[in-house]
């Protein structure tokens, strides 16, 4: 059997059922019911990891989710999980466990040398050292990341299934210990719907951390009674992670534990539960004690030692020293002795411990009263404890050989959920702990989470909480006849760690205070106190007390840092649930999507839509393809699927008035069958969206808007109709999906239109620019609108979406003799840049109509949203950025991505920016790269030479500032 396993006992293990997992490749045997941590400890070695900053060896320390040290990597490949707490992971056959933050191995960590440099790695070291010169930060950061990493992220897709559920309940009980069980039973018997969530596999919590007694029978009866209540749902392996407004809570459930499954069951389930009432029964945490080298493997909380002994039959050490300030240390000593350990010493901070100490002494256990463990010896594990007598002249009494130091520093309630629900935390000097203040939301803390540490009292408290009895007064505080953990003197020198996970020692906090950091929130960020994955559950109160002492304030005035969800780490997989990959979001497909797919289109996301970006059939690369596609449009005819453009039907007697107020130009003067380009502003005067508006009838308009703006424009319309001008009798109906839309563009567009609509008069006289005709095509009702985005002769055909595929295929067939080329968004972009049309790249929420050269569209003769704001002085400043065109001086010059526009090219030297490039493309017609840009007072600079530079890309090019319309400025082509 393994070294530290007891001969018998262990409430949660089955000695008949064994298995093994690997730790750093080594085989570790376990018993069914073990955690990874209990099996490792049973195997005899508490060393489980290296610390975050200093790479000091670290061992198992705390009993559960608050474990700061034993962070491990589970599994490999897609199932790799970093930063798992070994104390909460069930041991399962074949599980691969690896230590982390060490290289090349846990025992021989090359970066362990960092510990020698501890003196030069004080609080704020990274900020002080590596931020200068600022240009080098990126380089430093790469090195620091390598040194100070947690576990590695998985590099492959996770093959497992994660689920999400929503639920409602009358009462949610967080925590399945004695108080939680009693609460769930009381509420369940009262007929309430109850959800009881317990973070571990075995309901009972602390009841399993002690020997036999009447409480075992109570546990069995209670579990039986709960199982018999159909209105109670028991969720084991489930942590309550977040407590949000309006009684919404999130729970992370691991129904299959950590074992890889792959049988179609989810490995984790993320619950979102709305609870009328919440009972917080999450227990209490034991506080660490401060002494030199208190982080050595083998130093462990007494509560953890109790748990390993009673749950798993594992000794925390064979020759432990027990150190604390209350009678529980004598109890633990007796329990460990009975289980086969040789307790080397019981060190009691109290000068006059009383009967329990005398009994221990009588039983032959060496006891030291009014004494403390001042220092741990040993490196990779504890070898001895220095026992010092306290008093006016503290002195070393004995250096006791020991393989473990178990500390009992008293308990403080867990406050995460109470605090997340905005409950105040009240410092209680008698408890030497924060207690939950009056709850703000519909919840009540019970048992240890409220400071009720006695077992019988906790059960009673839970029962009352479940029955919704009024909250009683403060529970009686434990005796405080010894110095507080943070008041212990540093008698030997040496680091005394407050936050084990982040390597924050007491002197780091003192240093932060000396440097002027007095707010706990600042100290947290400066020293990284409490910023680990354990969120400082153990470190927080002590760090706070040390800061209070260093700043001369009391603890209540120092305050606490904000508690944020999740209370314990939740995997990304659980939060994402099934919402990733192909089903990460809904995909909107146009009616011609199947054709695009078959044609081999490369798609690009446009909001939820997927649109063909280009067709590789037209060119090997995106660059080649779009150039060929754009050229084909200018030379012959092309077509593009524009179904994604937003379409809104606006109707009613006041429809024209509404549109006049929504657009800065006038639309009410449109005659039926005619259209006009409309520019929509925000009330602050900036351009919001644009599109073409056609009047279908006196009281009906067909409004188009951009793909990206469609839903915002509709919301804006409803805001105008319902909030600003509710007296207007008009209706807006989004109809984007009702219509399939295709644009035909190019000199041969009319020929192609004629081919599919032979009976329609498509002559320039019958169908001029901005005219709409309705007709029937391919068995459906269609609207043909003469308008142009590309600058060529162009028509947009809308047809009922169910006829869309027929229209598209009909056009493909009819276009074949005319050399029709199908193009994507990339070519569409190139064509509109050549024509100087703006999109949201230019109308970026900062630009006004005047900035974009569209001042003439703003009608001053009527009221419209955004028109009054045009008079603001800031919108009229002379050096505002204005839309201009840029054309490369050299035919082979590239325009870098994200380029700035400058007057000079100074290489790597900084220089003032005149503006920035918003869009660029290759213009086949101009035979070089062109761009649209927003340049300060740009219209006044037309004709000037400039540069486009990207220091990030290390590229630049000489350009000339020109008018933003690169082709056909008179618009002869589109009117022809």
């Amino acid at each position: 059997m393994t070294r530290n396993r007891t001969a018998e006992g262990g409430w949660l293990i089955d000695r008949a059922s064994t298995g093994s997992f690997t730790f750093d490749g080594r085989r570790v045997p376990f018993l069914a019911g073990d955690t990874v941590a209990s099996a490792l400890l049973a195997a005899g070695d508490p060393l489980v990891g290296r610390s975050f900053k200093l790479h000091r060896p670290r061992g198992l320390f705390a009993p559960g989710a608050q474990e700061p040290n034993a962070l491990v990597v589970l599994n490999d490949g897609g199932r790799l999980t970093p930063n798992a707490r070994a104390t909460t992971i069930p041991a399962t056959p074949g599980l691969q466990v690896r230590s982390q933050n060490r290289w090349p191995s846990l025992r021989h960590d090359a970066f362990g040398l960092l510990d020698l440099a501890r003196a030069v790695l004080p609080a704020g070291f990274y900020y002080k050292t590596f931020m200068w010169p600022a240009s080098q930060w990126l380089r430093y950061e790469r090195l620091i990341r390598k040194l100070a990493g947690l576990g590695p992220p998985p590099r492959m897709a996770d093959p497992d299934i994660y689920a999400r559920r929503h639920g409602h309940t009358d009462v949610l009980v967080a925590g399945g210990g004695p108080a939680g069980l009693a609460a769930a039973l009381a509420a369940g018997r009262a007929g309430m719907d109850v959800v009881l969530a317990h973070s571990g596999p075995a309901f009972g919590g602390g009841l399993h951390d002690r020997g036999d007694g009447p409480h075992r029978a109570w546990l069995a009866e209670t579990l039986q009674a709960l199982a018999a209540l159909p209105n109670v749902r028991l969720l084991a392996n489930t942590t309550v992670a977040g407590y949000y407004d309006n009684q919404t809570l999130t729970l992370a459930e691991r129904p299959c534990d950590a074992a890889p499954v792959g049988d179609g069951k989810p490995v984790e389930r993320f619950w979102q539960i709305h609870a009328e009432r919440v009972v917080i029964a999450t227990g209490a945490h034991e506080r660490p004690l401060l002494f030199a080298d208190n982080d050595r493997p083998g130093v462990m909380l007494a509560s953890a030692a109790r748990r390993y002994l009673w749950r798993y039959g594992v000794l925390a050490g064979r020759t432990p020293v027990i150190f604390g300030s209350d009678d529980t240390i004598y109890e633990l000593a007796a329990d460990l002795t009975a289980a086969g350990a040789t307790v080397r010493a019981i060190v009691d901070l109290r000068p006059d411990p009383g009967a329990a100490a005398r009994r221990a002494e009588a039983a032959g256990l060496p006891t030291f009263a009014g004494a403390m463990v001042a220092r741990a010896h040993g490196k990779r594990r504890v070898t001895a404890a220095e026992i010092w007598r306290l008093g006016p002249r503290p002195h070393l009494v004995e250096t006791m050989q020991a393989d473990a130091i178990l500390t009992a520093g008293g308990f403080g309630p867990t406050l995460q959920l109470h605090a997340q629900a905005r409950g105040a935390l009240l410092w209680d000097p008698d408890f030497r702990a924060f207690l939950p203040g009056p709850p703000v939301a519909d919840n009540r803390s019970a048992g240890g989470a409220r400071g009720v540490f006695d077992l019988q009292a906790a059960i009673r408290d839970g029962d009352e909480a479940g029955a919704n009895a009024p909250l009683p007064l403060r529970p009686p505080p434990p005796a405080a006849d010894a110095p507080a953990p943070w008041d212990l003197p540093n008698l030997t020198g040496g680091p005394r760690f407050v936050d084990l996970q982040n390597d924050v020692a007491d002197k780091d906090i003192a240093l932060a205070a000396r440097e002027g950091y007095h707010s706990i929130e600042h100290v947290k960020r400066y020293t990284t106190l409490g910023m680990g994955t354990d969120q400082g559950k153990l470190a927080g109160p002590i760090g706070l007390a040390l800061l209070a002492a260093a700043t001369g304030k009391d603890i209540a005035a120092t305050g606490v840092t904000t508690f944020r969800p999740p209370a314990t780490p939740v995997t990304f997989g659980a939060v994402a649930g099934g919402d990733f990959g192909e089903v990460g979001h809904a995909i909107r497909r146009t009616a011609a999507d199947a054709w695009h797919e078959q044609a081999g289109a490369t798609f690009i996301d446009a909001g939820l839509w997927r649109r063909p970006q280009f067709y590789p059939a037209n060119g090997k690369t995106v660059g080649e393809a779009y150039r060929a596609e754009a050229l084909a449009v200018r030379a012959g005819v092309g077509m593009v699927d524009v179904s994604t453009l937003g379409k809104i039907d606006v109707s009613g007697p006041d429809a024209a008035t509404l549109l006049d107020r929504l657009y800065c130009n006038t639309l009410s003067t449109l005659k039926p069958g005619r259209g006009r380009y409309g520019l929509m502003l925000r009330e602050d005067g900036r351009v919001f969206d644009d599109g073409v508006v056609f009047r279908l009838a006196a009281d009906r308009f067909h409004v188009t808007c951009t793909t990206g703006g469609a839903s915002a424009v509709y919301q804006h319309m409803e805001h105008a109709l319902q909030v600003i001008w509710p007296e207007l009798d008009a209706y807006a109906t989004p109809v984007s999906e009702e219509w399939f839309a295709v644009a035909l563009a190019g000199p041969k567009a009319r020929t192609l239109l004629k081919a599919i609509a032979p009976d329609l008069d498509v002559s320039n006289a019958a169908l001029p620019m901005m005219r709409l005709v309705e007709t029937r095509l391919f068995g459906g009702r269609a609207r043909i609108m003469r308008m142009s985005y590309s600058g060529e002769l162009s028509y947009e055909i809308n047809i009922g979406a169910n006829r869309g595929a027929a229209l598209w295929q009909g056009l493909v067939a009819a276009g074949r003799p005319h050399g029709l080329v199908v193009y994507g968004t990339e070519a569409m972009g190139a064509l509109r840049i050549e024509k100087g049309h703006v999109t949201h790249a230019e109308a970026d929420g900062r630009t006004t109509p005047a900035d974009l050269g569209l001042a003439g569209m703003v009608s001053a003769r009527k009221d419209a949203i955004g028109v009054p704001a045009q008079a603001f002085p800031a919108l009229q400043e002379a050096d505002r950025k204005q839309l201009v065109g840029l054309i490369a001086e050299a035919a082979d010059a590239r325009i870098p991505v994200g380029a700035q526009v400058t007057a000079e090219d100074l290489g790597d030297q900084p220089r003032p920016s005149l503006g920035h490039v918003t869009s660029y493309a290759y213009s086949a017609e101009r035979g070089r790269m062109i761009a649209l840009a927003l340049v300060r007072a740009g219209r006044g600079r037309i004709g000037e030479a400039a540069f486009v530079v990207s220091p990030v890309m290390g590229e630049s090019a000489a350009v000339r500032i020109v008018d933003p319309v690169f082709i056909d400025p008179e618009g002869e082509r589109l009117r022809g």
Binding site: Y244, D245, E683, Q715, V723, V867, P868
Partner: protein, 88 residues
């Protein structure tokens, strides 16, 4: 998570809604308003601690703009009306 009782659709989670800001501001009369009045309407908002009357659009529901009384401290939701009714 806020729960907002929509007069049409019932109690719905906040994820179905889009926030619309202070509901008490009124668009100035374009015939008479000064530039200062416009600046106040566009930019100036109080940031009250406590009761707040605000607009919410039920975007994933009935598309009603609602006037919601919400306490910015407790997030308690009070009266909810249709903006159209609230204006009259």
């Amino acid at each position: 998570m806020l729960l907002i009782p929509c007069p049409h659709c019932g109690v719905r989670p906040e994820t179905e809604f889009v926030y619309g800001g202070d509901a008490t501001v009124r668009r100035p009369d374009p015939k008479t308003a000064s530039l200062d009045a416009w600046a106040a309407y566009i930019y100036e908002r109080d940031n009250p601690k406590g009761p707040h009357t605000e607009l919410w659009l039920h975007a994933s529901g009935c598309h009603s703009w609602l006037v919601v009384e919400r306490d910015t401290v407790t997030h308690a939701i009070g009266q909810v009306r249709q903006a159209r009714d609230a204006a009259s």
